[in-house]
Assembly symmetry: C2
Homo-oligomer: 294 residues x 2
């Protein structure tokens, strides 16, 4: 029987929405929590928690362990939301539209967007430790906390490299550094978290190959969509990366060359986890990443 | 023999500088690490690591444990540096001068200042876990990680409350919320970290009273200095809080009333730790906080 990704994803996405909503209850000062909830809730594909869960399931983890992976994945999603809020600020991408809605600073002002982004970052580790401390051994939870902080810091390294290369020629290696860090780090963290929570220490190298190839494919497709999609499809302003003279795969390899490279990365990702007990969702997610329109 | 705070502080401050320098080695992309190092090194009283160390020493901890407390305190210092970088940004305090030098965004541009601040925040937890994992039990280190994230998030809550009350009348309770969170949270975290690392679980309530009173006194004196000191003394632009219509103690109680309240808080702090084995440094730090000129 063919695996139905859409159904699989939608079902889990609903669970993530409930989880995320529960993880950020309104408290004082309300404006801060409202801005954080606005940044996180009602929108987003939830790719990162989905990857954590799909890894745990791929390793045959029981329901309770999959739930733990979902919680860890939602913490990665909080960090992802943090990065989007700060990325959209005037001093970086200066974007007013995200997921078809005004960005956080467009809706709440710049000061609150800056602080809500900071809040989401510290909150993610707070929530990780508090939610998982009765579910995991302290040493494993500590390792996850370190993995997530390292991934966040790596993401920042990628963002800085991206800013530094704006309007400049970039080499193959520089572009790879940017994307491996900027988009790749959190995807890697989500995949590794799900794998580690499911006891898949021995599968970690395969998980890394899957995550790195998927992350690269994801970013290549992002670059293609920035050139070819409409604002309605994207939910954000297209063509901005090109206009800002950003380093993109399309600039380096052209649209057709980028499509070929993305397909190649997806194949590598799928191969990496082929020997896992239940690899279908992970394979389907990888295939989806190059088919998506937004 | 009288306790000489100046000597005690200077000796430890030198150690913190070496530690902090070592914790942020230059790596790629260099601009990010340069901005982070600029934000952290060569400046600052290092009050937070000093408090961690003084608490461990006050409880009679051996040298190795005091070193562990110093490392944890330096992680709090990284978070403190993060908050200063973001506070100085144009959308918040819009300050060009900090510790007598151009602020990070004045020296490196806004994009890099934003990202260096984000970097310091994720880096602080990464460093905490990596540096202390061979020194502490996983469960204690996990608790510290949670304490520091919670304190950071509380600090953000205070910053937001501060922003929301700009130009408005504030009540006694609102001002107390702002300062207990904005300045108080990291001071509390530094004190609790040093106490917990030294095995002072049973002293935690006293530590909390000490930290809360000290934090409040510190903020009251900050407010007084913002009104009375010169830019040379402060190393930053004075009068800015008043000009922005910020909620301050001076606005609420006047300069003389604020001085009396600060002295009262310092007395409470000193009393709280009086029964500890070696409370002299903690008492002297508390007394210094109300005497300082910058």
């Amino acid at each position: 029987m063919a695996f139905l990704l859409e159904e699989y994803w939608a079902e889990r996405q609903n669970k993530f929405e409930v989880l995320l909503e529960r993880l950020i209850p309104l408290s004082e000062p309300f404006s801060l929590f409202e801005a954080m909830r606005y940044a996180v809730l009602q929108g987003g594909k939830r790719l990162r928690p989905l990857l954590s869960v799909a890894c745990a399931e791929a390793l045959g983890a029981p329901e309770g362990v999959v739930e733990t992976a979902a919680l860890a994945g939602c913490c990665v999603e909080l960090i992802h939301a943090h990065s989007l809020v700060h990325d959209d600020l005037p001093c970086l991408d200066n974007d007013l539209l995200r997921r078809g809605k005004p960005t956080v600073h467009a809706a709440f002002g710049e000061a609150l967007a800056l602080l809500a982004g900071d809040g989401l970052l510290s909150y993610s580790n707070k929530v990780l430790v508090e939610q998982l401390k009765d579910r995991l051994e302290p040493s494993l939870l500590l390792r996850l906390s370190n993995e997530l902080s390292t991934a966040t810091f790596d993401m920042v390294r990628g963002q800085v490299a991206d800013v530094l290369h704006e309007g400049k020629e970039v080499s193959d290696e520089e572009l790879s550094f940017i994307h491996r860090h900027k988009t790749g780090a959190l995807i890697l963290a989500a995949v590794r978290a799900g794998t580690l929570i499911a006891g898949g220490e021995s599968r970690l190298e395969e998980a890394d190959v899957y995550a790195r190839s998927l992350g690269l494919a994801f970013q290549i497709v992002d670059d293609i969509l920035d050139e070819t999609a409409t604002a309605f499809e994207l939910g954000k302003t297209p063509g901005k990366d090109r206009d800002k003279g950003k380093a993109t795969f399309v600039k380096l390899f052209g649209i057709e060359g980028s499509r070929i490279e993305a397909a190649r990365q997806v194949e590598t990702a799928i191969q990496a986890v082929q020997s896992w007990p239940h690899p279908e969702p992970l394979s389907a997610i990888a295939r989806f990443v190059v088919m998506r329109k937004h």
